[in-house]
């Protein structure tokens, strides 16, 4: 079996629990992400999503296990892995444009200033920011605009892997909707590999090729990998009409509501914890033996 583009192998993270012992956030987590794939990870707050992302970004060291990207082991942060944090990731003393230029300059130290500025402006325009707005400081921008600037900064650098930690968590639903669509558009144009944390089920279905479901912590597991069997291009109004939409949604709601609790707290005993692949489809034509059967199909494939 060939290794995926991003390969997470037996990742374990534990922290001191403050009472002299240790608290294991997750154990032997093992999963992969293919090149160009958009993967969302969904789980309750505190289960260890940010911890995984910080390890992928190289900002934190796991207790054990390795992360490989393109065959190379990840150690320390790199321009090849762009990060969009939930909050405060813009430098408040720089204008929106200069924040993006900050990233572009780091990526291309020998570009001229005009080239850096033009490149940055192009990416700001892609997320709908232009004119006067881009010369304002983050404090003078709305939350939605700030997060657009962060996204522009990350995409402008063409990282091989883009990591987003609940990028829209602090935004109101309407703003979130428009930025999600902008994110889809810019992702469609650049075809970057994206790994995104969210706690919003609808957001995950709209954006992802595949959703990783995490059980509750401590001793959390990436328990399932749910394929989103809804063709692209997608938009928020049309996907809800797709026959698979509610089946997938129900599955996710069930998982987060019930099974995330039931499946948590199991020790791995040193074996890799690989998520079960789940493919949900209501289309009659998809499977020959499913004729006439309208119930959702659940295929569990052990890989």
């Amino acid at each position: 079996m060939t290794k995926p583009f991003l390969s997470v192998e037996q990742l374990t993270q534990s922290f001191p629990d403050g009472k002299g012992g240790t608290m294991t956030v997750f154990e032997d987590a093992t999963f992969g992400v293919e090149k160009g794939e958009f993967v969302c990870i969904l789980g309750h707050s505190g289960c260890g999503k940010s911890t995984i992302m910080n390890i992928l970004a190289g900002l934190a060291e796991p207790t054990s296990g390795v992360v490989k990207m393109d065959g190379y082991e990840v150690s320390g942060p790199s321009l090849d892995r762009g990060v969009v944090f939930q909050n405060y990731s813009l430098l408040p003393w720089l204008s929106a444009l200069r924040n993006v230029m900050f990233g572009v300059k780091a990526r291309h130290p020998n570009w001229s200033k005009t080239k850096v500025a033009e490149h940055s402006e192009a990416y700001l325009a892609m997320v709908g920011l232009d004119g006067d707005t881009i010369h304002r400081k983050p404090s003078q921008l709305s939350g939605g605009m700030r997060q657009r600037v962060s996204i522009a900064r990350a995409f402008a650098n063409h990282p091989k892997l883009l990591l987003l930690d609940e990028p829209f968590g602090a935004l109101d639903a309407l703003t979130r909707g428009t930025i999600q669509e902008e994110l889809l558009k810019i992702w469609g144009e650049t075809k970057q590999t994206v790994f995104m944390i969210t706690h919003d089920i609808d957001e995950a279905i709209l954006l992802a090729d595949r959703i990783l479901l995490m059980t509750n912590g401590p001793l959390a597991r990436v328990a399932e990998s749910v394929e989103i069997t809804i063709p692209r291009p997608r938009n928020r109004t049309e996907i809800v009409e797709h026959p698979n939409y509610y089946a997938i949604r129900n599955h996710l709601v069930q998982f987060l509501g019930r099974r995330s609790k039931e499946l948590s707290g199991r020790r791995s005993n040193g074996t890799p914890q690989v998520p079960e692949t789940v493919r949900i489809t209501m289309e009659e034509t998809a499977e020959p033996e499913g004729d006439g059967d309208k119930s959702p199909r659940l295929h569990a494939v052990q890989n």
Partner: protein, 276 residues
């Protein structure tokens, strides 16, 4: 007529100044005849002949005289106010810049390294509360030069607020911003200059502003001790000459120069301020 808040407060300031000056002027008439004095005034010596506090009109005349020729030099005990202030500013800035050269890098180090912080903290805690003038005898003995000793005293008094604020500012830089530098593969020096310095600048400049204020307070006292030149020496010398008009005039000048130094740093503070 409607006035803005600024105009109203400016007007009020002028009125207060005028009233204050009038009261001062009126309070210093020639000596009252003895029979008009109250019992209290007689008992407190109000009737005795003495060198009186000069009225503001005299101080103004003095200011005019001094400021119309501030840089004359007629021997060691008779120099223009501009020369004296120049000496004081020169000493303050030399000591202050030396202090900045030490405090800013050291503050960065302490702010970035918890170990350096813990190792140096006891020394800072002991040295900081020492009155800068207490160093004077030791400085004079070791350095053997009054000029350099005055500069040393300025150095030692301005170092602490800068050091502590720099360390505090650097330590308090949001880890998210440092992570932005890390994910962009910036080296330590680049991170220090493009992320940590601008992030900590408001706190650092606040420390520098406190320091320049203290340095200006201390230089007057230091110059009274070491003598020779400077505004502090000038005040003391005019007191010895019993020239109270000059004393009051120089007190005002000390205040004005202090205010100018402070407003320079206030402007700097505004320039580096940012809203989150």
């Amino acid at each position: 007529m409607t006035l803005s808040l600024n105009q109203k407060s400016a007007l009020l300031s002028i009125v207060l100044l005028a009233v204050g000056l009038l009261i001062w002027e009126a309070a210093i008439p020639g000596q009252k005849p003895l029979e008009e004095m109250t019992e209290y005034e007689r008992l407190t010596g109000g009737g005795a002949q003495k060198a009186g506090v000069p009225p503001p009109s005299q101080v103004l005349a003095k200011a005019w005289e001094q400021l119309s020729n501030p840089f004359y030099d007629a021997g060691p005990n008779d120099k223009g106010i501009g020369i004296q202030i120049g000496y004081s500013i020169y000493r303050v800035l030399s000591g202050y810049l030396l202090a900045a050269l030490v405090a800013l890098p050291l503050g960065f180090l302490i702010g970035m390294s918890p170990m350096a912080y813990r190792a140096l903290n006891p020394f800072i805690q002991v040295l900081r509360p020492i009155s800068p003038l207490a160093w004077m005898p030791l400085a004079l003995f070791v350095i053997q030069d009054s000029e350099a000793s005055a500069i040393f005293v300025i150095f030692i008094c301005s170092i602490w607020p800068m050091l502590i604020n720099t360390a505090f500012g650097v330590a308090g830089v949001r880890s998210d911003w440092v992570n932005v530098a890390r994910t962009h593969e910036l080296g330590p020096l680049k991170t220090a200059f493009t992320v940590i310095l601008p992030a900590a600048a408001p706190t650092i400049i606040t420390g520098m502003r406190i320091s320049i204020g203290i340095a200006w307070l201390v230089i007057v006292a230091a110059e009274m001790l070491v003598g020779g030149t400077g505004i502090g020496y000038y005040v003391w010398n005019e007191w010895n000459n019993l020239d109270l008009t000059s004393v009051i005039f120089s007190i005002l000048m000390i205040g004005i120069v202090g205010m100018l130094l402070d407003s320079a740093f206030a402007a700097l503070q505004r320039a580096v301020a940012y809203a989150e």
